[in-house]
Every structure is written in structure tokens, then in C-alpha cells.
Symmetry: C2
Subunit: 145 residues, 2 copies
DNA sequence: CTATATTACATCGTAATGCGATCTTTTGTC
DNA sequence: GACAAAAGATCGCATTACGATGTAATATAG
């Protein structure tokens, strides 16, 4: 793909970029639901397991990872605990902190989702840079594929 | 960045990818609001101007671009019309269709947002592939930067 | 060239979810 | 020890995308 120069070309380029972004996100959401968790829970688990080197995360770290407010994460963690995906324990050194860890179930689900995402992310990374299939047309009011 | 091989490395890599994705999206949302429109309206306008070669789009095309349901787009367009960003006109050949176009105001706002996004997207594209700063820690319950 | 199916969009009600404001508890600093 | 800052928790709320369904216009079968 040529480097866009006119404003019109830049817009088309940005549109293409966002379109692929959205398609990837939808893919990911669908994958999460196919594994029995919400997309948000998937992201939460990914943050717990992959954001730090410890394999655990505090509420604040998760808020940074998810780019959300502190209080939004609290509720998200709460629901994930109820679903048996993560556990919470008070911080050892700093008792204000809450350490979020994955349960066995959480590790299993995240492992499956990680496999599902690996190839797709590779494709998307390339697609973000180079050209893409750029499909056209949809139909009716059906759910986007 | 080395190619991740172990499952742990893959998870960290995916986490890094999603983290950058989210940061970009937040950047974009903030930019949209700074121009007086909602992030959804920005994406809608981008779809109108950049998804097809015509510079206009139908509801279905926008639904494909945004990867949303048809009826979701109807409401989105409705609000954008009320905000004076886009116009709707029945299709010339197919009167079932609705052609969405940008108003002068819409073009101006989208132009500003396009400039704001151009550099950032370039950075993000590289960041999706290569290493990144990978910042740490947040603080309190303040809005993520 | 009517009958039927399909497409494109609209309407309505609903559930999820992230946010703002505020509060409590713990830690840091002077 | 007093005060400030940080880390979470709680509550109410607004936004928004979705599912189900309806209507008008176009395509297709016979």
C-alpha cells in the first residue's frame, strides 16, 4: 500500500485501519463468548496473567491495563470472582492492595482463548501495516460475521 | 522483540498488544470529545467519508464498517443528524437505502480529528509490531491519561 | 405479471457496563 | 501524631448496543 498523502487518502487509510481494528475486536469478543466468558472477563484475565511479570495484578494495575477507572475494575473483578475465574487476596506488604490471581478454571479458559488469538493477532498485525482483503457489503439485519 | 514461543510469552505478548490497542482507543476517544463529538460519532463520520470511494455510505455499509447491527447504526445516525454532523437522503436507485453524507460541520470536525489521528496511528502501527515503552503504575482513582 | 421471498431500514424495550462522586482504610511524610 | 496521598469500595446514573419485531421497497419464481 502506498503511503497516503492527500487528506482523502489519509481518511481512507484511517478508515481501513479502524475497520480492521473493529473486526479483530469482534473476533475476540466472539471467541470469548464461545469459551463461556464475557469479553471483559477475558481482558481482565489477560491483564492478570500477562500485564506484569508476576502473573498477578492489583486493581490499579488492571485499571491501567484496561485503561479504565479504578471503580470500573472493582465491579469487573467482582463478577469474575463470582464466575470462578479469579480470586482476590489482600496484599502482603501493602494491605490496601488487592491481589487478583487466576483460578484453575481461569487459567484453562485463558489458555484456550490465547490459542484462539495467537494466529489471529499475527494476521491482524500484518494487516495493520500492509493491505488487507477489504471485504464489502453486508446483508439485512443479521449479526456481523 | 523476540518472537514469543512459550505460552507465558504469548500471553505477555497478547497483553502488550491489547494494552496498546486500548491506549490508542482511549487517545482517540479523548480526541473526539475534545472536538465536541462522541467517539461513536467520530467513527460514524470516518465510515461515511472513508469506507467507500463515494464519500457517502448507506446504513448497511456503516454497520459493516462499525461491525455493528443495523439498528444500532440507525440510532447513531439519528443522533449525528441532530448534532448537525451528517445528513440522510433516500437512495436514488434503491429507495430502501439511506445515503448518509457529511455536513460542512461534519467535514470540518472530521478533518480536525483526522489530523490528530494521523501521527498517532503511525506510532501505533509501529508499536503493534515492535517494542513499546510499556509504562507502569497508575495512581489513585484518577482518569487514565 | 402476480405471489412470495429477501433486502434495507425503523421502532421499542432492555440489559450491560463504564463513569462520576463520594467514602473508608491504609500508607507515607513532615 | 497530624495531615496528605494512595488503593479500593459503594452507589446511582447515563449511554449505548442489542434482540425482537415491524414496514416499505426490490428481487425472483412460476
Amino acid at each position: 500500500m502506498a503511503i497516503p498523502t492527500s487528506n482523502q487518502e489519509i481518511m481512507r487509510d484511517l478508515a481501513w485501519f479502524r475497520y480492521n481494528l473493529r473486526r479483530f475486536v469482534r473476533f475476540s469478543e466472539k471467541a470469548a463468548r464461545s469459551c463461556g466468558v464475557t469479553p471483559q472477563q477475558h481482558q481482565l484475565m489477560l491483564g492478570v496473567a500477562g500485564f506484569t511479570e508476576r502473573g498477578t495484578a492489583t486493581i490499579s494495575e488492571l485499571a491501567e491495563f484496561l485503561q479504565e477507572r479504578n471503580n470500573s475494575v472493582v465491579g469487573l473483578v467482582e463478577r469474575a470472582v463470582e464466575s470462578g475465574l479469579v480470586t482476590r487476596q489482600p496484599g502482603a506488604t501493602d494491605r490496601r492492595q488487592v491481589i487478583v490471581s487466576l483460578t484453575a478454571k481461569g487459567r484453562e479458559v485463558l489458555g484456550n482463548l490465547t490459542q484462539l488469538h495467537h494466529d489471529e493477532v499475527s494476521r491482524v498485525r500484518v494487516g495493520f501495516l500492509t493491505g488487507w482483503d477489504w471485504p464489502r457489503r453486508s446483508a439485512g439485519n443479521r449479526k456481523p460475521a
